[in-house]
Symmetry: C2
Subunit: 353 residues, 2 copies
């Protein structure tokens, strides 16, 4: 603390990202990274990029990437906003849309950056409990609000909502904006991007970090009505003109061209997830149905924190949240099939199993 | 405009970056980019980087880069903050330090993002006029304030303050933070980094975009007392965990190793600047003394806007600001010697010269 700090930052409790260990030879199933490399087209674009050009500023409008995303998702270019990872897109969206007289509504258990943004921007918010089965019931969001945000599929639960329920919410909730954070959507849920053609009160946020294996390149985006995108651009251009560097733009844009690779790696992850879920049942685990690249699971009698420690002792990292209500659960990222077999084998060797 | 916008963003007037033209064969002297490629060590680091690793998140703490900068500048690692270009570092610093009851003081003519940040974060500010010679007189800043920021050398004027005057300000102004934006310092001014060892009320911000030819990689940094850096980290980690991608970290870190290249390219730019300034005198221009990679200059009888248009018609881009008081000036970035010769030749061919 310093006397030069603004008052507003003295009470901030920053988000804690998952551990990025400096040692090798760990099986890293703790931060929902993709176990497969980025698309060959992306790697080729980065390798062949003329690095001398880095002396110039990157395109502040990221035109190539916006055009690629517009074509990929079948939307207009003016419906696309891009940012430095979906975290930056989310932060700018909170500032652009959620500083309202009424409170923002968000699930009690969800991506834990959302309430950090509320503190950063002094946004009132209400956390809506999940259902007994860790689901989101959108009927619970029918109350006065200055905005609604949820992840679909939700994290760390992995459960997804059907699009029909999201559309019904958009029809009921016309006075505030609904943001659907689809970081994990490509692993088995339906995207709300199609709804952006018909509703001006929905903004969909996606990322290149998970299904496109580009977490290390920091690219996220939002799709929605032109007026929403204009609001995001206005805030972005008052904050940082060039948040995406030339290489991030080039790599992300190229990755969109490799649809076969994209589908194949996603399917491999889905297959390994389903295999792992079945194996975990046999070991006494109870997992939520997952539409993501992770499993949210608890054991019948072994405690979550103890299991995390046991796995860590065997060079396998998984994520555990000490939050009440979910503190007996582990969030296990789906790695390669070989990594998941090692996980299952390690659990099978647990002295109490 | 959309009814879903937060009130605060409706009145924002975003910063306008210099034009990034899509056509080739222009001599681009409008955005203060470095005409020489990045250091060979940086290019080699980017080319040899194992792109498969991009599937993982980048180091949220950017340890390698912070350690490189600490060693380079002879400061402690905990005195270094890094961000997505110095624009992001500045924006986070405004949020961390300048939301105060008293107004922020800044020069009336300076980097035009400063007052954009004030509007974004609802920070009161007072603009202090420059002297008649377009200089900054720090005695003018001896008034109640919630912070002081200036660029040294200043932009777009190019003039620099001696370190002794900055140190005297730090001794007088102990109740608020002073930020010195040193984007251009490597082209001929003295850095205030040494003062950070002795004063806890100064934060120095630098960038890899100008003297290190890495504008396209988006890396900036701040150096100051540990408590100031802690404040920046707290805001950063409440906004975006991973603003620097793996390639930006790798390229910027490697560029620090190539000191000879760094000194040589800076000297070439300084030499071309002095040559150009002399030529411009002969053509009837009056330029301010520059410690930067640009010249701020006006002609005896030709208007700035007209000259910008004439040069544009000859495929040379320079920057013109329509702000009263400086609207007859051009800001001309120093390119290669060959580009500056082309500029001078084109001006010499002006029908009225």
């Amino acid at each position: 603390m310093s006397k030069y700090w603004s008052d507003a930052i003295k009470d901030l409790t920053p988000y804690t990202p998952g551990e990025q260990p400096k040692v090798d030879n760990l099986i890293k199933l703790n931060t929902n990274e993709n176990p497969y490399p980025p698309a060959p087209a992306a790697i080729e674009a980065l390798n062949s990029f003329d690095k001398d050009r880095l002396r110039l500023y990157s395109d502040p409008d990221c035109s190539a990437l916006k055009e690629g995303l517009a074509a990929y998702h079948g939307v207009e270019r003016h419906s696309v906003f891009v940012g430095n990872g979906s975290d930056e897109v989310l932060a700018l969206a909170f500032m652009a849309f959620f500083r309202q007289p009424q409170p923002l509504l968000l699930p009690e258990t969800t991506y834990s950056f959302y309430d950090v943004y509320c503190h950063l921007y002094d946004i009132k918010y209400q956390q809506i409990p999940l259902t007994a089965e860790f689901g989101i019931d959108l009927a619970d969001y029918d109350r006065p609000n200055g905005g609604i945000i949820f992840a679909n599929p939700n994290a760390p639960t992995g459960r997804a909502l059907p699009l029909s329920e999201i559309e019904a919410l958009l029809q009921r909730n016309t006075e505030s904006l609904v943001i659907v954070d689809e970081a994990y959507v490509d692993f088995g849920a339906d995207s709300a991007i199609d709804l952006t053609h018909r509703y001006d009160n929905v903004l969909v946020i996606q990322t290149f970090s998970k299904s496109r294996s580009l977490a290390g390149l920091r690219v996220g985006y939002a799709i929605g009505h032109k007026d929403l995108i204009d609001g995001l651009e206005r805030v972005k251009n008052s904050f940082n003109s060039y948040p995406l560097d030339m290489l991030a733009i080039a790599g992300a844009t190229a990755s969109l061209q490799d649809e076969d690779y994209f589908q194949q790696t996603n399917q491999k992850i889905i297959d390994s997830r389903e295999w792992t879920a079945q194996q975990l049942v046999q070991l006494g685990f109870d997992s939520l149905p997952s539409c993501t690249n992770f499993l949210f699971t608890q054991h019948k009698f072994l405690e979550g924190a103890e299991l995390m420690g046991y796995l860590r002792g065997n060079n396998i990292l998984v994520r555990h949240f000490s939050k009440p209500g979910i503190d007996n659960y582990l969030r296990i990222t789906i790695g390669t099939q070989q990594e998941m077999e090692a996980l299952v084998e390690t659990l099978r060797n647990h002295p109490d199993l």
